[in-house]
Assembly symmetry: C2
Homo-oligomer: 230 residues x 2
């Protein structure tokens, strides 16, 4: 991986001179100092995308929550914990030619976050009040100035994948949605393979099940094509 | 580690012939297929305890939640996700001479767990209803028949550590509590060191800050002494 990073730094690729922002991993939203709410996300797909883009010569800013998979070398790594930290890191990393939002950002955070450990009391259950987290994908997709030329979102769905993801693309205002079915029986979550559908202005394009590395490489090449055409 | 495991299997130690149950790691309590509530626990201290006991000849059953640290070799590893799965695994692993409950078990689970991903809807926040999880430590401590001769609990506290841990020992009915201060500024959570206070029938004994491995070895030797005396 280090050798690949050095090679890509020394060699011109189709993405040389392009700054690409990639978010990856879950966010952790604290309940109190010892408890948190998280999304299941190993960070494997986001990391593979950062690697594929780096290998094509891109200058990659990699904003990552606490992932299982280590961050790649040869990219600018910005580690964060919460959705709000991720939003701040994304804003700081912009402008970018392309932004790929592969992170599984928590939609909600705990509004009533406690500074000390919530004690267990017999018969008394905690009440967690939630606040909505910033919608990072929609925010960047709908920027009036300095919007990346291509904004790619991800949709992790468990049912009705294409319908949900198509609606998400319209609602957020992003260019592409990479949708996948994360139902437990697919084994995709935490696994090495992925089966994605790319939702774009051209409709839904189902990709065959393949390694997360291959999904990343295919996506990276599609990004090259997109930037070449516009 | 494999060599140590083989050595301990071939050599008699002071705990040879003793069956010791160790729980470790966090539990993950699902909210829906992609979200969960977790406790911050790397599993480092519980894993170190299993290793120390194994190295003294014990036959170790290691019930572990999804920890960051890999489970040791030379012990019987029983992986679980939730508190209820951990309880079932503990009951199945008993009887044991000693039980060390080092896991950071979630006190609550989500009662309203959803089989499909909860969708984000504008202006509508999810309501999570909680149920109390089984109290595994209290359950084993208060067994009327077949109780382990020594039951050790852990207390992760952020304030008033000794008072909270002493009250916990009385409330649960366990023999010892290993208490530690997990306030973020101690760096203990997720770190390699620990500063513990052992609460026993003899009161509170503060141990100096040391490596988690050393805490484990010191605790293992105290267990040897305890079993020798009774």
């Amino acid at each position: 991986d280090i050798i690949a990073a050095i090679r890509s730094a020394l060699t011109d690729g189709p993405l040389t001179g392009k700054h690409i922002l990639v978010t990856s991993g879950p966010t952790h939203e604290p309940i109190d100092p010892v408890r948190y709410i998280a999304n299941r996300s190993s960070g494997a797909q986001g990391t593979a995308i950062a690697v594929a883009l780096r290998d094509l010569g891109a200058d990659v800013s990699f904003v990552t929550g606490p992932a299982d998979v280590p961050a790649p070398s040869g990219v600018r790594v910005i580690p964060v914990q919460t959705a709000r930290e991720m939003q701040a890191a994304v804003e700081k990393a912009l402008p970018a030619d392309v932004a790929v939002f592969a992170a599984a950002v928590a939609d909600w955070r705990v509004a009533s976050q406690s500074g000390s450990k919530i004690k267990k009391q017999q018969g008394k259950l905690p009440v967690l009040e939630f606040s909505e987290n910033p919608d990072i994908l929609a925010g960047v997709s709908q920027m009036s100035e300095g919007r990346p030329r291509l904004v790619v979102g991800f949709a992790a769905e468990t049912d009705d994948v294409i319908a949900h993801a198509t609606a998400k693309r319209a609602r957020k205002g992003c260019d592409w949605i990479v949708a996948n079915d994360v139902s437990p029986d697919t084994g995709i979550m935490g696994g090495t393979e992925n089966a994605v559908t790319l939702i774009s202005e051209r409709g839904a394009e189902e990709w065959p099940r393949m390694g997360k590395d291959e999904v990343a490489q295919q996506l990276a090449h599609r990004i090259v094509d997109y930037l070449a055409k516009k």
